[in-house]
């Protein structure tokens, strides 16, 4: 997953050429549609459509599937749990809805340069300047979230490996406490890096 999230892939597809503002609006609308129309019939159709959009955006299908192994495994567990608790129809709805949201999100980040995203978010939030909102700060936070997701996943992997090396992979304490500390340390380090580049004020 860390290879995928937030990684822009230059290209010339319609999605690449589409202005960021409308593209962001489409993603938001897509998310609303996925949630509002969720059901055992419609959600799989949207998931199939999302797969098509992801391929169209230039995401290599085989590589995408390989790096989504963790997510797919999680979906199998979710499907099993939902089938047991609420039946197969709900399981299909939940899993395909999540897939439809994730793949369109990936297509968005794969076809949108972060610099363009920053500019657009700054423009969108600039009317809020009069109530004290700083658009450049909101935009930077937006971009940092994209970067933070893979970074947090990397921290989780490192923490799990460290616990395994000590034979403590089954101890929640050996996983959660260092994970939380490392995530906070990473946040501090990122803050320092931004401050050093003059992007904190």
């Amino acid at each position: 997953m860390s290879e995928l999230l937030g990684a822009y892939r230059p290209g010339s597809t319609l999605l690449h050429r589409m202005p960021v503002g409308p593209k962001l609006a489409v993603v938001a609308a897509w998310s609303i549609v996925v949630v509002a129309t969720r059901g055992p019939l419609f959600s799989p159709v949207l998931a199939a459509l999302a797969i098509g959009i992801a391929i169209w955006s230039g995401l290599a299908l085989r590589r995408t599937l390989r790096t989504m192994r963790g997510f797919l495994l999680l979906m199998v567990l979710v499907a099993a749990f939902q089938t047991w608790q609420r039946g197969p129809e709900v399981a299909v709805t939940v899993v395909t809805s999540l897939l439809a949201l994730l793949l369109v999100g990936l297509a968005f980040t794969a076809t949108t340069a972060v610099d363009d995203l920053l500019g657009t978010v700054e423009r969108i939030t600039s009317p809020l300047r009069f109530v004290g909102v700083r658009p450049e700060r909101v935009a930077l936070a937006f971009a940092l979230v994209l970067r933070a997701l893979p970074a947090v996943l990397e921290v989780a992997t490192q923490t799990r490996d460290a616990a395994r090396a000590r034979g403590l992979e089954r101890s929640p304490r050996a996983l959660l406490v260092p994970f939380a500390i490392r995530v906070v340390a990473h946040a501090y380090a990122t803050g320092d890096a931004l401050a050093a580049r003059g992007l904190d004020d």
Binding site: Y8, P10, P150, A196, L199
Partner: protein, 229 residues
């Protein structure tokens, strides 16, 4: 010119105030300045003072007459900082986007920003890696990218805090050669005594004090003698 005037760094700790740097007075004007010392001696604290990442609890740090505390933004524009861990410094998904981020404040035009970012990446030898995911770069390439992000803003001074500590020999040489080839003033914190010997002036830091300040060869001898005790 960087000037420290009785600059002192103190932080709170569970056992009370902890002094990370005792009052230190220095004028740093040489083109290549090294800082060496044991782990936890205060080297990084001294380096972080120079662009305001750490602020003095007492005394002053001035860069070309600007106070790091009062004029932090302008000081950081003049003093770039390269961290030990490039992963912490690289906040965008691709090298081009990361360098572009550095230019957002100074270059309003998007096309010009990207052109300048590509130029810096070419200069640093990463031109052909501009659009790959940052995580796919080697350790040395990441450190060069971190340096590119700093150089993009065209600072007058580059402070590098153990930039080669995590690198193998080849990458150490590559990063060091880039650093020593800069036109900017370089303040280099390092454990690598070969790199320290390439500096004109070297400070030895021990127990939160600058205990030696002089030519590289003498400073290294002093540091080795300290370590032998």
């Amino acid at each position: 010119m960087i000037q420290l005037q009785s600059a002192t760094v103190v932080v709170d700790s569970p056992s009370g105030p902890l002094t990370l740097l005792h009052p230190t007075t220095l004028d740093l004007g040489e083109h290549r300045i090294g800082i060496i010392g044991a782990n936890g001696s205060g080297k990084s604290t001294l380096a972080r003072l120079l662009n305001g990442l750490a602020l003095p609890a007492a005394g002053q740090v001035l860069v070309d007459g600007l106070d790091v505390d009062r004029d932090g933004r302008e000081v950081r524009r003049r003093v770039g900082f390269v961290f030990t861990h490039p992963d912490a410094q690289l906040v965008m998904p691709t090298p081009l986007e990361d360098v572009t981020l550095s230019l957002r404040r100074s270059v309003p035009d998007k096309a010009e920003r990207r052109r300048r970012a590509r130029e810096v990446l070419d200069t640093i030898g990463l031109g052909d890696r501009a659009d790959v995911p940052v995580h796919s770069l080697s350790g040395g390439q990441k450190q060069l990218l971190a340096l590119a992000g700093v150089l993009a803003t065209d600072p007058e001074v580059v402070v590098a805090d153990e930039p080669t500590t995590l690198l193998d020999l080849r990458n150490t040489r590559s990063v060091a050669d880039r650093l020593f080839g800069l036109r900017q003033q370089l303040v280099l914190v390092t454990h690598d005594l070969d790199l320290a010997r390439r500096c004109e002036r070297v400070l030895v830091v021990d127990a939160a004090r600058v205990v030696f300040d002089g030519p590289a060869a003498d400073a290294v001898d002093h540091y080795v003698a300290l370590s032998d005790v």
